[in-house]
Structure formats: structure tokens, C-alpha cells
């Protein structure tokens, strides 16, 4: 048997992955551990749920001791600033749930509009995406190879095709839709996810001087605000994440139960990554989206190595690896506070890279399932539209999600 690459990109222990030894090739290139399923209202989620439901009025659910030490700011000042940042819709507390459970996929897809499509037509399509509750994350792009980049959690691919992709493709303005199943979710909103290398999981990555540049380029957040924002997302044990006494005071739930429950999800099972999202378009930031296509002869492990190289670049605030798609990876970096040319040059330096497509993201519809749509009064409205037990191809099915398709009726 051919010797494997020195780097093992598989998740899980040897015992857990023993089943792979039956095969010459690892199934799908990478074997993976199914982390299990946890209901959003499960008791283990309590700490997050209490914080998510009350941080808007009680920012002190977060560990003010920790934040104060990290930022060298007074606790009262931090609370005041957090309230302002929330009230001005600059930050939102969210979480990314692991979706690599077999049969529960994460699909992203790029949309390109036909030449000559008017801004009005594009805006109408943007509104459709904005209101489409099947879509958990979505971006509007300009000046480049794509016009939209959206993502869905779906267990059944036909459900995705039926409710989202096909109606989108059928739009006369749409040139193409390219689906990119996620192979590895490595970094989102600056924070490393479960598919990063093990020891870097939950690292909060910013490039040198980026926060300072951001503080200077706009007036909504000063450097202290940004320090708070960064400290909120910085990797720390779950026990230091919240003030569990405050969580208890708000909810009446047991402090230890909340700690142990959430710890098991975040630190042990690695199912959840809680974090604050920065409403970057409101700050005047745009994202450069590099969509990387490698030669098809590139073996999977090599693709993974290249992507891991790119992840080491701190200016990339989002990195994902695709499979079974036209493209192999996507990386985001802020245009205004990154050296975009250097990043492009770096990506181009790999012989395996056949082509880089680019666009600039100037608007974001949702951060995971939370709407960012303050213009229409839906800021932080959370809609989870998993297709569990649903056949969305059958519009007459009684199990068909009542939310999906609603926007079509409007």
C-alpha cells in the first residue's frame, strides 16, 4: 500500500478511523468523524442560549474580568461600548454549528449574472436571496467574476436543488450557478473552525496592524471598540468565555451544568463555535473574494496542504475548501486593510493553481442563520431552516417547510 502523506488530515482517533483500513483509498479522500447531533434547545446549549438571548441588554453575560484585562478598559466602559456596538448593529453574537455529519451537508454556491443585467434586476435577486430562509449565509458581490456567493445547510442535495438552485438558475438574468460542497470549513469571521489543524481550532486571526487600520478608516468603531471585539472572539476556555454567575442570575439555571454542557460541545465535541460577527459592510469594508481553481490532477492531500498554507496567512478572514466542484477553495480578505496584490501573488505562486477568480463582496445577507437585514427591520432575526425530514421537491408534502418558498409568494 502506498505510504500516506506525513500530514494526516483526517479527524478522529486511530480507533475511530479504523474502518478506513478496509479500503485502499480512504473513502472520499478524507475520512471524518461524525460529531453527533445536538438540538438547539438542548440543555448543553444553555450557556450559549442565555447569552445569545440577553447580551443585547446584558453584555455582562460575557466575562468582564477577562475582557477588562485583555483590553485594559474599565468594565463599565466595556459594557457601555458593547451596548452601543449592538444598538448600532455593528456586532452580533452568533455561532457556527458543525455540519459535517454524514447526510447533513454544507453547500456554497456562486452565482454569475448575464452581461447587461441591470442594477434593478440584480437588486431584485438580492432581495430574493435576502428573504430566502433556506439560505443560512449569503453575500452580494460586485466588480468581478461572480455576483453572489451563498451557503446552505442541507441534508438532501435534491432539496437544495429544488428550492434554491433551480429557481435561481431559472431566473433569466442568471448566467450560471456553480455549487461547491464544503470539504473543510477552516476559518470564518476570522476564527478557525473544526477543520483547521487541531491545535489552532478557535484561534482568532487578524493580520498585523489590521485593527489599527480599521480604526482609522471609519468613525463607528475606535480602536478600543475593536480591542473589545477581538477579545470577545479570542480563543479561551469556555469557563472564561462567560460570566456564569450572570448567566445563572438571568436564567436561574445551574452554573456548573451550563459550563459543563457548553464545554462539551465547544471543547470536546467541537460541534459549535460561538463568536461575534462584525458587520463589516457598515464599517465601509469590502471583502476580496479569491476563488481558487486547482488542476484536476492535484491530489487531495496536496490541495489540503496548499489550503493550509493559505490559512497561515492572517489577512485571510475566511478560508474554505471545496470538493466535487469547479473550484477548490475560497479565501476572503478585506480590500481596505490588506495587501491584496501580495495575497494574489501568494496564491498564484503555487504550480497547482490553474486559475483564480475574484469578486468584491459589498453586502452580506446573513451570518449563518441570523439575518443582518437591518434595512428591512430584520436585524438578528434567526431562522433555522434545516431540511430534516422534509422532501422539498414535493410542494404538496405536509412536511414541507412552511418557511421555505414564502418569499416567492410575496
Amino acid at each position: 500500500m502506498e505510504k500516506k502523506s506525513q500530514l494526516d488530515y483526517s479527524l478522529g482517533s486511530e480507533d475511530q478511523l479504523a474502518w478506513k483500513k478496509k479500503y485502499f483509498f480512504d473513502p472520499r479522500g478524507i475520512g471524518f468523524l461524525e460529531p453527533g447531533i445536538v438540538g438547539l434547545d438542548d440543555a448543553t446549549m444553555s450557556a450559549y442560549n442565555v447569552a445569545k438571548s440577553s447580551y443585547q441588554i446584558h453584555p455582562e453575560v460575557f466575562n468582564m474580568e477577562y475582557l477588562s484585562k485583555a483590553t485594559k478598559l474599565d468594565k463599565k466602559d466595556i459594557i457601555k461600548r458593547m451596548k452601543r456596538m449592538y444598538n448600532e448593529h455593528l456586532i452580533m453574537y452568533v455561532m457556527n454549528p458543525a455540519t459535517q455529519v454524514y447526510g447533513y451537508g454544507l453547500y456554497y454556491w456562486f452565482v454569475k449574472l448575464k452581461e447587461g443585467t441591470s442594477e434593478t434586476e440584480k437588486a431584485e435577486l438580492a432581495q430574493w436571496f435576502q428573504n430566502k430562509d433556506d439560505i443560512c449565509t449569503g453575500y452580494k458581490c460586485k466588480d468581478g467574476d461572480f455576483d453572489f456567493y451563498n451557503g446552505n445547510h442541507m441534508r438532501v442535495l435534491d432539496n437544495l436543488l429544488s428550492t434554491v438552485i433551480t429557481p435561481c438558475k431559472d431566473n433569466p438574468c442568471v448566467e450560471f450557478v456553480h455549487i461547491c460542497p464544503i470539504r473543510r470549513d477552516i476559518r470564518e469571521s476570522h476564527v478557525n473552525m473544526w477543520d483547521s489543524t487541531s491545535e489552532t481550532f478557535r484561534d482568532n486571526i487578524w493580520g498585523t496592524g489590521q485593527l489599527e487600520k480599521l480604526a482609522k478608516m471609519q468613525k463607528l468603531l475606535d480602536l478600543n471598540d475593536l480591542k473589545i471585539f477581538k477579545a470577545l472572539n479570542d480563543k479561551k476556555p469556555v469557563k472564561d468565555m462567560f460570566d456564569f454567575k450572570v448567566l445563572h442570575q438571568i436564567s436561574g439555571l445551574d452554573e456548573n451544568d451550563m459550563l459543563n454542557g457548553f464545554k462539551s460541545l465547544v471543547e470536546e465535541k467541537r460541534i459549535i463555535v460561538p463568536l461575534f460577527h462584525l458587520n463589516f459592510p457598515k464599517l465601509g469594508l469590502t471583502e476580496k473574494m479569491f476563488v481558487i481553481k486547482m488542476f484536476q490532477t492535484t491530489p487531495s492531500y496536496r490541495k489540503a496542504e496548499i489550503v493550509d498554507d493559505l490559512v497561515a496567512i492572517p489577512e485571510f478572514n475566511m478560508v474554505k475548501e471545496f470538493s466535487d466542484a469547479f473550484y477548490d477553495a475560497v479565501c476572503f480578505a478585506y480590500n481596505e486593510i490588506s495587501d491584496i496584490d501580495a495575497l494574489r501573488k501568494k496564491i498564484s505562486s503555487y504550480a497547482e493553481v490553474e486559475e483564480i477568480k475574484e469578486s468584491n463582496v459589498d453586502w452580506m445577507f446573513r451570518r449563518w442563520v441570523c439575518r443582518l437585514d437591518e434595512k428591512n427591520g430584520f436585524w438578528e432575526e434567526c431562522v433555522f431552516t434545516d431540511d430534516f425530514l422534509e422532501d422539498r421537491t414535493d410542494k404538496n408534502s405536509p412536511l414541507y417547510c412552511t418557511i421555505a418558498g414564502k418569499e416567492d409568494k410575496k
Binding site: 438571548s53 443585547q56 441588554i57 438571568i250 439555571l253 427591520g377 430584520f378 436585524w379 438578528e380 431562522v383
Partner: protein
């Protein structure tokens, strides 16, 4: 949590649960599929005239109304706080409600004692009691009244106006009753879901209903009565004035467990016999099935009690008469022959039937009976001083004008209702009988599609007659 007796401050504040001048809806949502949206939608749709304050720290507006971050931020007084947020936020909202000096809170939220969070539920309840803030719920569907145009909860429609106060632990069965109300003209004065009834107890709503001008029958669906002394005391206080009908479910072995998982009802050391005794002591009338519960509630809400067993059944169908005879006997109230009730009536009533009719009881005026026959027999019977109640039956033969006979019963009822003798009807058949039942009910006569249902209603009216004598 147990109470020993109905509490005055709670009873006094229950008016804010059904007729508040202002409501804070905590968890008011911008999405029409969510409970918090439905609450405000229901309030608006059914014509609530008071002030509505959506509370949602994420939203600027809900339903076009300014949203507040917390109850405390509402600038005006708040009578009722309706809570439709996850359980982990309820403690904080109760604290805000106390700070706001709200009059009453309603917690629709589930996931308390019924899933093992008994300690938390008790702590929250005690907090409310310490602050004299009545708490309805948690784990309930809502409440409302058709007289007050008030639909507060996630309730699809209001019942038709009527006289039954429906106090239910189960939201699903409450909704079933509302559906029945719409379909079968089962009139209600108000309805309320109590859910886990952590604080506000059956007994307190019974006391409230006693003073409600539209309520004539108080119906209580329970999965467990954990404050029996208070229940007995409340019933004893009201049954001389208004009947209390009860149904207790979860008596079976597995039902007992299901009742705990549903509304955290504990039934330790209780059984059916225990509840029989409890209801007897209370002076409440117990129904065994859901159908019986609704049927007898309807009758008691519409009709006066039956003072003795002298009921005359007038029918054009011998079969329904026989079904009735047997069921009266099964229920321990055998029918008396007409000659025993009134010898002269048995002779007089002959004039309104053909020679093959039967002047026994049931009085079978035959399948060829005309509206005139019915009118004569009914008027003759109701005017007889020995007759205490009329039980009418219509069998739709090809020569029976069901609609006309229905009108005759209504006419006779209206003409003689000052005599205080209850009228109950049975109309078994097809669409014409269904229409007849609805029309009779709309005109204040409890009417049913089977003989057994009608008999159950009459037996309940008699039971209430006895209870009134006792209390």
C-alpha cells in the same frame, strides 16, 4: 405549587388576564411563523382595543409597533405581561415585570417542571408570590373571551359567545374545545389554559368565573389537582350559584406518567376513587369522557337544573327512545312512566299522536308526527305541574319536516322557559339533523346527535339540581 385556599390578590388580578388595558408581549417576533408573532396577530385580528407593547431587544418594530428592549423600558403602565420566549429568559423577565409593577404574567414557555426543571419552576413561582404577582402557566396556549374580543396566545380563533367558562390544563384540548365551539356552536364566556399551573390555580379561576357575568357553567379540565383543599373551598363557594363540571385525565398507569411529562401533574397517592370523593366533596360534576365533558357543560351553561326525575321524552322515533331508556338506567336515573308522573298527562297527550303511538315515556308520537303533533305534545307536557323537564327527539323520516319541528321546539322553549324546566334535544340523522342541532343550540337548547349524549346532559342537570339542594 400548592396553595391552601384561593388567594384574594390573585382572584382580584385575574381580570387583567382577560381584560387588560395594556399588554407587553415578550418575545414578539417579526416572523409570522413564530409564537411571538401570532400573539400580537391574534390580539389585533380579534379586535383588542388596549395597548400592545412588543418586547424584543433585537427589533425596532414588530407589527408596525415600536418594540421595547425590556418590559422595564415601556413608558406606560402594563397590566399583563405575556411571555413567549425560551425558558432560560423567564427569570429575568419576571424580575422586569415585578420592577414594572405589572398586574399579572402569563408564561406560554415550556421546558420547566415537565422536563425536570421543577426546582427552577418553584423558585420562579415563589418569587412571583413574594411579590404578589400572579403567574399563569408556564407551558400554556393562552386565554381569551369572545365577549371581550380578546384572543391572547397562539390560538387560531375565538369560540362563539356562550356561557361556559373553560379552564383547561391542556392547550391541545382547549383548542379542541374552541374548534368544537366553532363547529357545533358550543358557546363560551371565556377560556384559559393553565399549563403547569405553577402559581394561579384552578380554584382561583373558579372563583373568578363565579363573578363573571357571562359565565353560567364552570368547566375544569385537569390532569392533576395538587391543591385539593383550595379546589374544594372554591367549588363549595360557587356551586350554589353556578355548576362546576370537571374531567380528570391521566388516571391510567401510563397516562399518569404522560400527565407529568405534559403538564408536570403529580398524582402521587391518588386514584380514580380519590378524585370521585374529592369532586363529591367539592360539589363538582365529574365527566368521564371528553365528549361527556363538553356535552354536560353545554347543558349546564344553557339550562336550569332539573329539580327531580320527572322528565318526559317526546319523540317520533321509538328506537331513540329505547336507547335513551337504557342509558338513563345505566346512569342511575331510570325513566319514569308517564302515568306515574302525571296520569292525566298520559291521557291528554293521546290527542297528539296516531292510534299506534305510545303514551308511555318515551312518548312516541310516531314517525308520521307533524309539527302540530309535536307542538301539542310539548305544550301539554311542559305545562303539566308534575313534569320537570322536556327531552325532545327528532327522527328524520321522509314525512318529518325536521326544520319545522325544530322551530316548534324553539317556540315552545321560548314560550315556557319562565317555568324553569330544562329542555334537552336529540336529533339523530344527517345534514338536516346537524342543522337542527346548531339552530337549537343557537337558541339556547342543548341538542345532540345521539341519545346517550342527551341523556348524559339530562343526568348532569339532575345532579346539579341535587348539588344545589345540598349547598
Amino acid at each position: 405549587m400548592k396553595i391552601k385556599a384561593p388567594r384574594k390578590y390573585v382572584i382580584d388580578n385575574l381580570k387583567y388576564a382577560l381584560n387588560p388595558a395594556s399588554i407587553a408581549v415578550v418575545g414578539a417576533s417579526r416572523y409570522d411563523g413564530k409564537v411571538g408573532y401570532k400573539v400580537i396577530e391574534g390580539l389585533n385580528k380579534y379586535g383588542y382595543k388596549g395597548k400592545i407593547y412588543p418586547v424584543n431587544p433585537r427589533a425596532e418594530k414588530v407589527h408596525g409597533l415600536k418594540a421595547y428592549k425590556t418590559v422595564k423600558d415601556i413608558p406606560d403602565e402594563v397590566d399583563l405581561v405575556f411571555i413567549a420566549v425560551p425558558a432560560h429568559l423567564v427569570k429575568m423577565i419576571l424580575e422586569h415585570s415585578v420592577a414594572k409593577k405589572a398586574k399579572i404574567v402569563v408564561i406560554a414557555t415550556s421546558a420547566f417542571k415537565e422536563i425536570g426543571r421543577g426546582k427552577l419552576q418553584n423558585e420562579l413561582t415563589q418569587y412571583c408570590r413574594d411579590n404578589k404577582l400572579p403567574l399563569i402557566g408556564p407551558n400554556l396556549v393562552g386565554m381569551g373571551s369572545p365577549f371581550l374580543n380578546f384572543n391572547c396566545g397562539f390560538i387560531p380563533y375565538l369560540p362563539v359567545k356562550g356561557h361556559v367558562a373553560m379552564i383547561s390544563q391542556s392547550g391541545a384540548n382547549l383548542l379542541a374545545a374552541l374548534g368544537t365551539s366553532q363547529m357545533l356552536n358550543f358557546g363560551m364566556s371565556f377560556f384559559v389554559g393553565l399549563g403547569n399551573k405553577a402559581d394561579v390555580d384552578f380554584s382561583e379561576f373558579i372563583m373568578y368565573a363565579a363573578n363573571d357575568e357571562h359565565t353560567k357553567c364552570i368547566s375544569v379540565y385537569s390532569e392533576g389537582i395538587d391543591s385539593p383543599e383550595a379546589f374544594v373551598q372554591a367549588c363549595n363557594n360557587v356551586v350554589a350559584k353556578k355548576p362546576v363540571v370537571t374531567i380528570k385525565v391521566g388516571g391510567s398507569k401510563i397516562g399518569n406518567k404522560a400527565a407529568f411529562a405534559h403538564t408536570a401533574s403529580e398524582n402521587t397517592n391518588t386514584d380514580d376513587a380519590y378524585y370521585d370523593k374529592l369532586y363529591e366533596k367539592a360539589g363538582a360534576i365529574r365527566a368521564e369522557t371528553w365528549e361527556e365533558f363538553l356535552d354536560i357543560s353545554l347543558a349546564l351553561g344553557l339550562q336550569p337544573p332539573l329539580k327531580d326525575d320527572n322528565v318526559v321524552m317526546i319523540t317520533n322515533g321509538g328506537g331513540s327512545g329505547l336507547l335513551s331508556c337504557d342509558h338513563f338506567e345505566r346512569k342511575g336515573m331510570p325513566m319514569r312512566e308517564l302515568s306515574e308522573i302525571s296520569l292525566i298527562l298520559s291521557l291528554k297527550i293521546r290527542a297528539y299522536m296516531p292510534m299506534f303511538g305510545s303514551p308511555l315515556n318515551p312518548v312516541d308520537i310516531s314517525g308520521t308526527a307533524t309539527p302540530k303533533n309535536y307542538k301539542g305534545a310539548i305544550s301539554q307536557a311542559v305545562c303539566d305541574p308534575n313534569v320537570s323537564g322536556i327531552y325532545g327527539s327528532i327522527c328524520p323520516t321522509s314525512v318529518t319536516d325536521v326544520a319545522a319541528v325544530t322551530d316548534v321546539y324553539i317556540e315552545m322553549y321560548n314560550k315556557y322557559k319562565h317555568l324553569g324546566k330544562p329542555f334537552v334535544m336529540e336529533c339523530q340523522g344527517g345534514q338536516e339533523c346537524f342543522d337542527s342541532i346548531i339552530k337549537l343550540r343557537k337558541n339556547g337548547i342543548p341538542a345532540y346527535s345521539t341519545a346517550e349524549q342527551a341523556v348524559n346532559a339530562i343526568v348532569a342537570l339532575r345532579k346539579y339540581g341535587k348539588i344545589k339542594e345540598k349547598f
